[in-house]
Symmetry: C2
Subunit: 289 residues, 2 copies
């Protein structure tokens, strides 16, 4: 069993992007990070993105509206960022508090600045295998991780557990593309799937994106499979000072010995997501200038 | 084994739409049908669409540019139709002759008038389960056919053979939606799939959209499966006056006895596609007026 280190691969990508940005002429790529309210997880995610941006030489513009902001006010804020020629990418940190309509906000971001890849048009472009758009960061990060771990999906059976808009569907569409590294046979499972273990056991590559702690157990794995764990779940742990720890959607300790390669949580898919956000921002800058 | 008659179901839908159109006030829904050149199959498809439109009370505007039309001229023609308030839906008959860039033309059609459902934004809306868009007609027709044949996909394993933009991907996304009738576990196979028969034999519902005559043979079927044959292939047949006949992607005679339900070719998915085009046109009219 080989551990696929997202930390390591992400660090390599960050170093590559840093070199790329250093060569750019004119103003640096600029990412607007919009965080509404003070959710502790959101604070930590935005901080991480800001830090990585700084490391690469991407300018961050941090915007912190209070959680009392109205839908209309937030839309106006997005419109202003859309119109601002100095802003290449816009990220609105999810989840949005209160009654704010998240999907409407994601769609308000101009597709050209949608470095999170949540806009309808960018999702459609993945389906159409059109590289001018932005793939959402987690699925793009998974594809990059697989490629850099010498996992070619061609002819492999890729089973995705979870059909979310942000992970499940786009990773299925990416794995299916007629492109080097992709060309997988793809199955998408979800809460209504019957006899899930029988289907996940078909997987040469299993992608778990359910959001339920240690949901994937060893009886669900074909020996030798590659397992990508997208879950980030906080569970109680009295042995930790914080009283909690992070686990994935995969029961790592039991599953790992059966696999040929597996991603850990934390340090797996998570850091890849941030790296891909930076890659998208630099792409937006390239298309925008 | 029960035959799912697309002819019959389409006729029912056409009758329903006719009643719906009869109740409309103001001008009738209008569909612009653009056919470039004189490809015999295209002539016949456009004629069929025109005839069905007339039956329902949808106005057709037939536009027949010569195959010498340039990309720019065709784009200008589309722009004019986009801007014309009397036109609700625009269909550009595929395939386009010569060097015309089909994807660019499909994307030129305003998403609001894209009754063929080929625009990136409309494909993205299917992925996002947003009903304000237009699903492409063949996949939408398959879903309608299944619903009207009491085939509920919930918890079923739906295997789609073929990953085309027009059929394979959108039908996979529709079958996967969290909606009544859908909620299937979906597998998408294609030319790079290994041991295809082993995978198609998992299918409770098999959707064949490969474009290869009688490609799906009886060893690829789980007994009792529902089989939807999207293929329309013309093969030589000396016993016919025309010297050819139409067959599907499924080896019907051998496969049908194994199935619980199956669509014939012709008279299966084909007529559904035209019915759904009309349904989309009436929807566009409703959104447009």
């Amino acid at each position: 069993m080989e551990l696929i280190s997202g930390n390591q691969i992400a660090a390599t990508i960050v170093a590559e992007l840093k070199t790329e940005v250093a060569k750019l002429e004119g103003r640096a790529p600029c990412l607007a990070l919009v965080r509404v309210g003070d959710d502790p997880a959101s604070i930590s995610y935005v901080k991480k993105k800001e830090k990585t941006a700084a490391e690469i030489g991407v300018t961050s513009r941090i915007i912190l509206p209070p959680e009392t902001i109205t839908q209309t006010e937030l839309e106006t804020l997005i419109d202003d960022l859309n119109a601002d020629p100095e802003v290449d990418g816009i990220l609105v940190q999810s989840p949005l508090p209160g009654d704010l309509d998240e999907l409407a906000i994601f769609r308000r971001v101009s597709p050209d600045k949608d470095v999170d890849g949540f806009h309808t048009l960018n999702l459609g472009k993945i389906a159409q295998e059109d590289d001018t758009g932005f793939a959402s960061c987690t699925p793009a990060g998974i594809m990059e991780m697989l490629a850099r771990s010498d996992v070619d999906l061609r002819g492999k059976h890729v089973v995705v557990v979870g059909r979310s808009l942000i992970v499940g569907k786009p990773i299925a569409l990416l794995a299916l593309q007629k492109k080097a590294g992709a060309n997988g046979t793809v199955t998408i499972c979800h809460s209504a799937t019957q006899d899930l273990p029988a289907i996940t056991r078909l997987a040469d590559v299993l992608i778990a994106a359910i959001g339920r702690p240690r949901f994937v157990t060893k009886d669900m794995i074909k020996p030798g499979a590659v397992v990508i764990d997208v879950g980030i779940n906080r569970i109680p742990d009295e042995t930790r000072k914080s009283g909690t720890r992070l686990v994935g959607d995969v029961d790592f300790d039991a599953v790992a010995p059966l696999t040929s390669k597996i991603t850990p949580v934390p340090g797996g898919v998570g850091p890849m997501t941030v790296a891909m956000l930076m890659k998208n921002t630099i792409k937006a800058h390239r298309l925008n200038t």
